[in-house]
């Protein structure tokens, strides 16, 4: 069971409070009508799915209800960083390979990222309150 640092609550919390939401930084095409079926399908369903460093979105479902991003190793399950919506990761597979850590750059007021319709996104939210 993971221990996850929520960048909004500024605390480590148990995985039971969080839900994974799939690959991070998926961008919804700005002009969907201009997309081909292939481009739209890519946005909806196709994912990186790497063995190793993965940037993924989680939500602090039992907590502040904020979505945020996690850089995690999908083999060791080590969490290398968590960061807020709208920020870019400091640690990437490339940065680890080159030994350089990026600055924590705020690129947008919020996120400009979403989930498409991949598995994690369509997974039923079971047993939660609303």
């Amino acid at each position: 069971m993971f221990l996850i640092y929520c960048p909004y609550c500024e605390e480590h919390r148990e995985e039971e409070e969080f839900r994974p939401k799939g690959q991070a930084h998926i961008v919804r095409p700005k002009d969907p009508e201009a997309c081909s079926d292939e481009e739209w399908g890519d946005y909806l369903f196709f994912r990186d799915n790497p063995r190793g460093i993965h940037h993924e979105m989680w939500v602090h479902a039992v907590g502040c209800r904020k979505f945020f991003n996690v850089t995690r190793n999908t083999v060791t399950y080590e969490i290398l960083e968590t960061y807020k919506m709208g920020e870019r990761p400091r640690i990437t597979a490339e940065s680890l390979a080159s030994g350089e850590i990026q600055g924590n750059v705020q690129v947008a007021g919020g996120g400009q990222q979403t989930v498409g319709a991949s598995n994690a996104a369509v997974e039923a939210v079971k047993g939660e309150q609303a």
Binding site: E16, R19, D42, L44, N49, V122
Partner: protein, 416 residues
């Protein structure tokens, strides 16, 4: 190939078992093959076997980075059934079921396919609607199945709590008598031995590190034991499909998730069928050794660690104790995890790819074991003819662009 039989066994016993032959060779890779299968699990080995047996293509290598059958083949809960909802999926799994029914004899290897019946419980009115819909569809597709009442369920599984006091009382179930379980390791070994006997090279400890691709066509693979050439390459590497696709330069509509399972200590037989519940989320059967084999849910995050989160195990055992209160004092011996490649529609991909000559068979999610012979059979046809087998056609990658998904979440929602 040394034929196996009860008589043969007795003969070997008298010679102190000193004359058994290897079940498969340990060959040195050749430079070139007609077909390379990447992945030596059940599906890959079955593909190689049917290529050799049905299509006469015997110059085949199975490239396996670890040991044969060491991935999900070794880690699943061995359930075999074909009662899927949609025509396309039902046809594929029923094709597999028919092959299962003669598999031990075909391979001369007892895969212990035990047709003890599989029950999918319904706990809500919507569960029951879905069950009726699926069973009706199965019947018209020629697949055995019926809807059971709680009384009938209680008769088949007297130890289950079928009372109305349960938190989610059992309202009924679907029942497929021909379904059951098989001995998972034996399936891999049986296909391996039979494929080897037909000339297929099984290359263990051989890891693919890249593909040889020129002008959009595949010419072979790079491995830790050198390059191996072939103009047709089939990837059948559950838990690694995304990684292989990346090597070939494209992405797949897949996420790899941990899927956990566990066994109890061996018990005298108390459960002679397979019980699955989507709603409370657990499924259970008892092996011929006496272990209760229990499948847990899938973890929501991507993971290649062959382990998942502990609360998933807790929830599963809560469900098992809810269904079988008598198991409260039974003890869990061991848990483990597999890596399942899940597709957005809970159906597999059996498909050509953007790279000519390179095919993928993946995305079986939580239920690939049951398809093993069918998957291999259909994929071998596809590789041999360079054209999708009619049963594979609906499962091409294209469907994620056109939208023609085959949404089996209802039937496949519970991991198995």
């Amino acid at each position: 190939m040394q034929r196996y039989s009860g008589f043969g066994l007795a003969k070997h016993a008298l010679s102190h078992h000193e004359n058994w032959e290897r079940q498969w060779r340990n060959p040195t890779p050749k430079k070139q093959y007609d077909v390379i299968i990447v992945g030596g699990g059940g599906h890959g080995l079955a593909t190689a076997y049917y290529l050799a047996k049905e299509h006469g293509i015997k110059n085949v290598a199975v490239v396996e980075k670890g040991w044969l059958g060491g991935g999900n083949t070794a880690r699943n809960t061995t359930i075999v059934r074909s009662n899927y909802l949609w025509d396309e999926a039902a046809a594929l799994y029923e094709h597999a079921m028919k092959l299962w029914e003669g598999l031990s004899q075909d391979l001369n290897y007892n895969v212990m396919f035990s047709q003890r019946g599989v029950m999918n419980l319904g706990h809500t009115l919507q569960d029951m609607r879905d069950i009726q819909r699926r069973v009706n569809a199965n019947r018209l597709n020629g697949i055995d199945g019926e809807v059971l009442t709680p009384e009938q369920i209680q008769e088949i599984v007297p130890i289950m709590d079928c009372s109305k006091n349960a938190r989610y009382p059992i309202l009924g179930a679907s029942w497929q008598p021909r379904a059951g379980v098989a001995r998972h390791d034996a399936v891999a070994w049986g296909f391996a031995r039979a494929a080897d006997a037909l000339g297929v090279d099984l290359l263990q400890n051989t890891e693919v590190t890249g593909f040889k691709i020129r002008d959009g066509r595949v010419y072979g693979v790079h491995t830790n034991r050198g390059d191996i050439e072939a103009k047709t390459v089939g990837c059948v590497a559950a838990g690694n499909s995304g990684v292989l696709a990346k090597m070939a330069g494209f992405r797949l509509p897949l996420e790899s998730h941990p899927l956990q399972a566990l066994v109890s200590e061996p018990l005298k037989p108390v459960l002679d069928t397979v019980v699955m519940s989507n709603h409370v989320h657990g499924y259970i059967s008892q092996t011929d050794k006496g272990d209760l084999v229990i499948g847990a849910g899938i973890d929501g995050y991507n993971g290649y660690g062959q382990r998942g989160s502990y609360p998933t195990i807790e929830h599963t055992l809560q469900a098992i104790v809810e269904m079988f209160p008598i198991f409260s004092r039974v003890r869990m011996n061991r848990q483990w995890g597999g890596i399942v490649d899940t597709c957005p529609d809970a159906c597999p991909i059996l498909s050509a790819t953007p790279v000519k000559g390179l095919f993928f068979n993946c995305g079986w999610g939580t239920g690939g074991f049951k398809a093993t012979p069918g998957s291999g059979h259909v994929f071998a046809w596809t590789l041999a003819k360079n054209q999708a087998h009619p049963l594979a056609a609906p499962f091409s990658i294209d469907r994620f662009h056109t939208g023609a998904l085959v949404d089996e979440h209802g039937a496949a929602g519970v991991a198995h």
